[in-house]
């Protein structure tokens, strides 16, 4: 694609960053809305199981202080806090996406800004959502041993890095191949090699109590996957839209109204 002589100066990092943050805020609020309607009922159900278990324990051991502490944040407060959490998370992810776009745009071999933005968001969905999800599926309240939280957090961060390395390996591998089908095959192989090695090296974690209802676990995990998918899908499409709208504006202005 030849560079047209009359092209304008490239967008500043600040302009791209602003678009990323805005797309991230929208994505975060929509992901929060999804989570509010589909995830919160599951969180409520899990918390009632958690409370029933601790009440039973308190009844069995009367010497331990059974006095319920006043919660720091009420359940209603936590449901509002959900939007704060997803909104902030979305803004941060949008900022990171915009930065990655700024630094990598010239290395992505597509003339289309839209495709570049969507490709990066899709890579992130694969690398930091789907790869971690299969190894360490998210758990509702009442699942998980508080004593292992540090180890689980480190493992989770490690799988995020492995997911991103796997996506990078797929891109590097496909660029070594001359034909289209061989590029596709190389991408899959490069991705799988990293993921399989990563899955094998990281410890398995299963702390789901035998008494926890399997259907509730399943529907919570589905709601969590939905929340994260909404986040990255809206972020990708929103950022792509803001980037490409910006680049088409001059053409529109040239058309007499």
């Amino acid at each position: 694609m030849p560079l047209s002589a009359g092209s304008k100066a490239p967008a500043t990092f600040g302009a791209l960053l602003l678009r990323g943050l805005l797309a991230g805020l929208i994505a975060g609020l929509l992901a929060g809305t999804f989570a509010f309607f589909f995830g919160e009922p599951k969180v409520d159900a899990a918390i009632s199981i958690e409370e029933a278990a601790s009440a039973a324990q308190a009844a069995a051991e009367p010497q331990t202080s059974a006095a319920e502490e006043e919660p720091l944040v009420s359940r209603d407060g936590q449901k509002g806090g959900l939007f704060l959490a997803t909104g902030l998370y979305g803004i941060a992810l949008g900022g990171i996406l915009a930065t990655a776009y700024t630094l990598l745009r010239r290395r992505l071999r597509t003339p289309s800004d839209t495709r570049a933005a969507l490709g990066l968001a899709g890579a992130a969905l694969l690398g930091v959502v789907l790869v971690p999800y299969v190894k360490y599926p998210p758990n509702p309240p009442a699942v998980g041993d508080p004593d292992t939280i540090n180890q689980r957090t480190i493992s989770y961060l490690a799988i995020l890095v492995i997911g991103l390395v796997a996506v990078w390996a797929a891109v590097v591998a496909q660029r070594t191949q001359p034909t289209e089908w061989r590029r596709a095959a190389a991408a899959v192989v490069g991705f799988l090699v990293v993921v399989v090695v990563g899955y094998a090296l990281l410890p398995n974690i299963n702390e789901v109590p035998a008494t926890f209802p399997p259907d509730l676990l399943w529907s919570f995990r589905l709601a969590s996957l939905g929340t994260q998918t909404v986040m990255w899908t809206v972020l990708g499409i929103g950022f792509a839209a803001l980037v490409s709208t910006g680049s088409r504006e001059p053409a529109r202005e040239a058309v007499p109204a």
Binding site: S7, A15, G39, A92, T102, L103
Partner: protein, 67 residues
């Protein structure tokens, strides 16, 4: 292979050392925000466990390990 670049006004600036440092600072700030949402237990936010508890449900539903 020639690099495909776009000519649109929103195509990206050339990557200079200054841009790299700015980008690094921005990513650091963004990671601090994700840390506050996902992992902090009061050590950074100086709010005790208040923010941690406030964003509890989001953390679970965003797939982050939590208690």
């Amino acid at each position: 292979m020639p690099k495909a670049t776009t000519a649109g006004p929103l195509s990206t600036p050339a990557v200079s050392p200054r841009l790299l440092w700015t980008a690094l600072a921005v990513v650091g700030l963004m990671l601090l925000i994700t840390y506050l949402v996902a992992f902090d237990q009061g050590a950074v936010s100086r709010s005790g466990m208040y923010l941690h508890e406030l964003m509890h449900d989001g953390r679970h539903l965003l797939g982050v390990p939590c208690h």
